[in-house]
């Protein structure tokens, strides 16, 4: 957690404090960008943009909000902007064309999904579902923290998260039925 004193110093114009603060948050910023954009280069670009924006906007941070939800709001906005430019629509079913379905219920429950497959499945979710999942699992945010970051009502956050998990479950379930994993 970033020390409140460091934030205060940064806001007061202490440039070294501001740079130190950016160093503290660069990993959490990158992690969100990486899982939202699903691409290393895009994530590097987006997190640098986010850090620069935090640098220029540090004055606008108000203490009543949590610093880390404020940071995540900035990085998710940048990422959403970026992937809207890149990929106007989301296709959920593309893998169905590649793999034939077959039944193997037992291995399904037993085997663990590889991180890679989960990351791909997250990438297939609609943008706000994806954002909610990333904040919940990669930032360990509570419902309330997600709601603050995304400026959404609590119930909406829950419904996005629940639906996202249901979709992920279906996507990964289908993968396994397809027998792509042993």
């Amino acid at each position: 957690m970033v020390e409140p004193a460091l934030i205060k110093a940064a806001q007061a114009g202490d440039r070294e404090a501001l740079v130190a603060l950016l160093r503290e948050i660069e990993h959490q910023v990158y992690r969100t960008a990486y899982y939202l954009l699903n691409n290393e280069q895009d994530a590097l670009d987006a997190s640098q943009d986010a850090l620069i924006r935090i640098y220029t906007k540090i004055d606008s941070y108000e203490e009543k909000a949590q610093f880390r939800t404020w940071v995540q709001r900035i990085v998710t906005n940048i990422c959403i902007d970026k992937f809207r430019r890149k990929k106007p629509s989301v296709s959920i079913d593309e893998h169905d064309m590649v793999f034939q379905a077959g039944d193997n219920v037992e291995t399904e429950v037993l085997s663990a999904y590889a991180a890679e497959e989960i990351r791909e499945a997250i990438g297939k979710l609609p943008e706000h579902h994806r954002t909610v999942v990333v904040l919940r699992y990669l930032q360990d945010f509570s419902y309330n923290e997600i709601a603050d970051s995304l400026n959404l009502p609590l119930n909406t956050v829950k419904s996005y998260l629940f639906r996202a998990r249901q979709q992920l479950q279906t996507l990964l379930h289908d993968y396994q039925k397809g027998g792509v994993r042993g």
Partner: protein, 342 residues
Amino acid sequence: MICQEVMELMQRYIDGDLDQQETSLMMDHAGQCPDCAAMLVRLQKLSSELEQLPRVVPKFSLVDAILPELERLHAADSAGGSRGSEEQSDAMHGSSRSNRPSRYLYRKISGVVAAGVIVGLLLFGNPSQWSLTGGSSNKDASALDTQSAPAASEQRAMKFNAMMDSNAETPESSQAPVPSSKLSDQISEQTTDNSADKSMKFTGPISRSSADSQNEAVVPKVDNKQQVTATSGGQESGKSSAENPEAISPSEPPMSLNAIPAAVSLSTDGKWRAIAVEGAGTYQVYNTADESELFHSEVREGKISFLNWNEENTILYFTLTDADGHQTQWQFDTVNVKETTR
């Protein structure tokens, strides 16, 4: 207790959000219902795997990489005050994106051309609608106006939230033929993108035509600017206005882009709403409870029609008619969020 309610309990259970009573309710049900028990196992497994996703770190120090830029911002800040530094940072962002404007440009042009063709076709095919929709278009236009106000970078950054809000406020009606919120969002996105992207040189006509659509008919405007590609829209609108002088008077344009009719189908339990914009070849499914978008189909060649729901309200059926009039039957499954041909 029905499985649907248990599903929500299981989801909240995974987040540690259940009290003792709710937990035992859920467990009681899962004890008798093998489907729910299996679902609980799968959800728990999924959740723990999500928790274990690798905490990736960048391959180099991001702060070191942006230090020179921060240095410049700092220098500009000392010289010109904080306003100047913000402007500079925006300009910098603009230029860093300038290496691939052409694709967006084509997309935007094709969007406007498509809109022109759609409006033209609709004017021709369905002229009686204008008098019905004219009343609401003013209201839509004013909403559009507030959304497409000049785009500072902060505003663009907050666009996500703004769109969320406007989606949430969409009034529910199974009969309304006007998916106004969605369309005006798309338009305002085009407009804000154009004005924000300083590197694009040829966006003038496009951003003007989408701005003008607030008060004027779209077709003539688009037709002027895109004479070659949008002729079909133009001709048809001319023809229909000749045939229906009362419905479409030249001095008082009858509609804005927002009044494009669409097929709307509400599931009988009121839970889902499917909307297919005519001519666009795409459809969306919304959860009416919170107006969230469940599914946004890819754009296909052809027209989507005959939206209807199965008895259980889990599957949406629709027909895709291509340019040759050939029809294919499709279905979309809300449980698995998947579309297939029938």
